[in-house]
Amino acid sequence: MFLDILITGLISGSVYALLAIGFSLIFGVARIVNIAHTAFYMLAAYCIYFVVQKGGFHPVWGMLAAFVIVTLLGLLAYKLFIDPIREHEGAVLIGTIALAIAMQEFMLLLFSGDYVSVPSLIKGYFAVSGVKVFYQQLLTFGMVLVILFALWVLLMKTRLGLAIRSTAEDREVANLMGMNDSRVAMTAMGVSVGLAAITGAVIAPLTILTPFMWMHPLIMMMAVVVLGGMGSIKGSFAGAYILGFAESLVVFLIPQGAFLKGSVALSIMILVLLIRPEGLFGIAFEEER
């Protein structure tokens, strides 16, 4: 029981962390609330399914293909639909919602609504006191840590990371200092969608794929971002594991828990917000006027 909770919590927490960091990255840099973020994650999972099950390639190729294709698609969608209306906050909001719905319907047409699954990269498991621990789960968790480290290096140690961080802090001043605002936004969008794609790639073997699989992570991702404090990567990281463990605790300990897992996690978010309106690690920054 304890090990079950630990594993489920770690896996779902990691997924939420990756998604939330990508989401808050593009929000911080370009002030775009990208509802379609988790739709890209769904797209990546289906991409792997297509390459592996229909094409017969090794899952590693599927992951690479998913990463490249989904990132390109994300950039294309940004250029075509989001960039022209970036100044209108409301329009961006429903533009990305429409984008997500369009992607969902497209997948529904291509692969139908049937549940499908993807084979794991490494088969087999080992047992610890009667609980099966799949190698795939360990691999997923390991990959999440590697990706998070790579992202930290990108944001903290490179010139590009510096540009992204400074644009997030103050767009106008960054522009005056010679950073091309729209190019930084484009890059941030690429990194953000790329993160969503990787998340979809590492989680695909552990879940069941449906065109509607973007809904639940979307809500949890938003809750994580709000809980951790918007634009704070440390906050997203902590918030993701808090909500991930809350979900797995509810599922395993409370009868009818599967229904209540979303409710309890979201109630935790609201309770935290009542005490700290800017989130756990957020900074109550000055109102933009």
């Binding site: 209306i85 100044e87 209108h88 409301g90 429903i94 529904l108 809500i219 800017e278």
Partner: protein, 346 residues
Amino acid sequence: MGLFWFYVRRGYRVVRNEVLVLPSRVVLVLFVMTLLLLPLFTQDAYTLRILILTSIFAILAASWDLLSGYTGQLNFGHALFFGVGAYTAALLNLHVHIPPWGSIPLGGLAAVLSGLVIGIPCLRLRGTYLALTTLAFPIILMGIIFALPGITGGELGVSGLTRLSHSRIWDYYITVGLMLILCTVMWKITDSNTGIIFHAIREDELAVRAAGINTTRYKLMAFSLSGFFAGISGGLYAHFMRIAGPSTLEVSMSFTVVIWAIFGGVVTIYGPVGAVFILFPMLEFFRFWPEYRTLMFAGVVLLILLYMPEGLLPWIRDKIEVECPRCKIRNVALRKTCRICTASLD
């Protein structure tokens, strides 16, 4: 008899001098007349059903605009009000046997209560934080509904409600009439002093507070007013469909409301109503290609937004009418000079 002719002449004068001078007013009058006279020409149950549902959702979209458009408190969980209204009306009707004319307003009051419950914690949040937090509330309620199937019927919902009235025509007149009345009330609210304060809160909350206005009170008022109208539309929906199910609380429901309102143009009231009357029947029209229906819907929304990010109806209105630069009165775009102050309209 003299009095009668007096009113006839006065009505004629109002029509000629106030209505016919502006295309938007002509469109509005034609729209209301068409809605009220339609059952004389067709009594097709399917058409009436579409229009009834359209009217119900028009109230919902307008109530979103009242809260999120005017005060700028982006609400992503508008389905909460709709769902609370629907479930309250359904449970009251089924267990306490209150007829629809009582249960629907009570559903609206329950939605006001829920508006206060979510409004109080949300007052400290603004902008995107608020939007993402409000998204959580309908999902929390949905979890509770699924966990208590004994009372709420779980996934199946509460069914077997009393009909709205005994015939389809009466259903039609009740919903369309209520839609017209409630939307007029909302429009009047936003046109009053309260509405001006709502505008000001959206533009600059700090300045409003500095002017000595209790913004907290006005924001809560916006939450409860919007909740009331949305709750009424929820109750109407429950009684018309004769079922209140968890689909009323779904995320897609909240998103659809936002799509309607922003597509039609926020901060107008008429925008969201018009958008529902365009988009909802259009979705029904697309039923000829059932697999592509939602895809085409999303495509239309995306394409229209690319060219009119302010929303469809304000864009059209700006094309056919111009505002006089001197006296701020609207004129037909064809005129060279203002119809009131004769200033040049360039």
